[in-house]
Amino acid sequence: MILPLPELPSFDYVCPKSYQQVSEMLLQPSVDARLFMGGTDVFVQMRDRTVASKVLVDVKHLPGMASIEYDHNVGLRLGAAVNLNRVAKHPEIIEYLPLLAEAANSVASYQLRNRATIGGNLCNASPAADTAPAILILEADLIVVGLNGERVIPANDFFLAPGETALERGELLKRIEIPAPPEGWKGKYLKLGRNAEGDLAIAGVAVLGFPDHTAESGYKFRIALSSVAPTPIRAFEAEEILCRGPINGERIEAAAIAAQDACQPIDDVRASGNYRKAMVKVLTRRGLGEVWAAVQ
C-alpha cells in the first residue's frame, strides 16, 4: 500500500488576475495545472497522491467569485468561492434559503468551513457532497466560464460520476444561481453520519415542499439524495407519488420507499449499501414529515 505523503508535494502557486488567464493556463497542454479555492479537498488529495498537479491556480480572488447577492425576484447569486461558513451564516440565506444554510453548516467543522467553498464542494463532486442535494432541489443553475465565455449548466446536468462534473477542460465554476423557490415553500436537509454531527454523510436527504394547485395533492415536493449513488440525485418517482393524492402517512411512506428504490449505494468503510438504503427511507420519511407539517 502507498501511504499518503507526509507533506504537500512541490508545486507552483499562481494567482492569475483574470478568468481568461485561468482558462489559458488550464488549457496549456504541457502544464499540469489545476485550480483550487479552499484547498480542503485538493491539499488532502495531493497528500493522498490522487492529485499531482505541478501548478495550483488560485481562483478565489477573481472578480465576483466571492460575492453573495440576494434579490426577491431573481433569487440568490452565489460566487463559487464563497466559503461554507458565509453560506451558513448569511442573514438572507438563513431567512430565504434556510435549507442551503443548513446543508452548508452540516459540513465537517467550523474551521474547515472557513476555507471550504460551495464551489469546491460541488466541483469536487463527491457523491456525499452536502450542498449538492440542496442545489439539486432548489433547481439551481451553475454558471461556468471558459475561453468561450459563460455558459449555464442546470444542476441536474452537473454531476456525471464520482469526482466528475460537466465542466470541460479550461472551464471553471463562477457562480451558482438559485431562483427564488415557489411561494410558501419549506425545506430541510437531514444527514446521517457516524458522529452525531460533522461526519461525511452515510446518507443525506434534502426535501422541499410547496403549495401547488396543479398537483392533485395540492402540493409538490422535491427530494434529493447524497452519498447513495455515484452522484447526488433527485428522487423523481418519489416526488411524483407525492403529487398524485392527499398527503398522509401512507403516501409519505410510499414516497420514502420510492426514494429508497432510487438509490444504488455501495458498501464502503463507512457503511454498507443496505444500511444506506434503509436510512434513505428513514430520512426521507422524517424529512417529508417535517416539511409537510411546516408547509401546511
Binding site: P4, P6, E7, L8, P9, S10, F11, D12, Y13, V14, G38, G39, T40, F43, V44, R47, L56, D58, N85, A108, S109, Y110, Q111, L112, N114, R115, N195, E197, G198
Partner: protein
C-alpha cells in the same frame, strides 16, 4: 518550485518571509517563526490541533498555504497572553481542569476565543457545535464546555481584576 515573498502579521508582529509554494501556514508558524504552540495532529484538517485565527476566523493551518496568508492577521496561542494577563478562556480552562495532555489545547483555545468574539453568550449546543472540529482524546470534552461557558459569563477574566 516557486517562492513567494510575503508579509503577514502574527500575534501583532509584522513578519516578512520568503516561502515556497507548498509550505503550509502551520509549517511557517512552527518552523520558520518558531511558534511551536500550534500543533500538527493529522495534516488533513480533521483534528483541529492546528487551529489558528486568520483574519479573526479559525482555520486549519495545515490546510492553508503560507502564501495564502499574505497580508493576513494571524493569532496563535502564543498571542492570547497579553501584558502577562491570561485570556478569559485560558483562565477558565485552567480553573476547570480542562487540559490534560495539552496537545489539543491551543486549538481549543483559539476556537473558543473566536466563538466568544462572535457569540458572547453561546448555549451548550452552540459551544459543542463550534468545537466539533477540535478533537480531544483525554478530557471527554465536558470540562472544556463548562470552561467556555464560564469564560462567556465573564467569570474567569484575569484581566478585569
Amino acid at each position: 518550485m516557486a517562492k513567494h515573498l510575503i508579509s503577514l502579521t502574527v500575534n501583532g508582529v509584522r513578519e516578512y518571509v520568503e516561502v515556497p509554494s507548498n509550505m503550509t501556514l502551520l509549517t511557517l508558524l512552527r518552523e520558520r517563526l518558531g511558534l511551536t504552540g500550534t500543533k500538527d495532529g493529522c495534516s488533513a484538517g480533521e483534528c483541529g490541533a492546528c487551529t489558528v485565527l486568520m483574519n479573526f476566523e479559525p482555520v486549519n493551518a495545515c490546510l492553508t498555504l503560507a502564501v495564502e496568508a499574505e497580508d493576513a492577521v494571524i493569532l496563535t496561542v502564543e498571542g492570547l497572553l497579553q501584558d502577562d494577563r491570561l485570556d478569559p478562556v485560558q483562565k477558565a480552562i485552567i480553573d476547570h481542569g480542562a487540559t490534560q495532555c495539552g496537545f489539543c489545547t491551543p486549538g481549543i483555545l483559539l476556537s473558543a476565543r473566536a466563538l466568544l468574539d462572535r457569540n458572547p453568550s453561546p448555549n451548550e449546543w452552540e459551544i459543542k457545535d463550534a468545537l466539533r472540529g477540535n478533537l480531544c482524546r483525554c478530557t471527554g470534552y465536558l470540562r472544556i464546555i463548562r470552561a467556555i461557558q464560564e469564560a462567556a459569563s465573564g467569570g474567569s477574566d484575569d484581566r478585569t481584576s
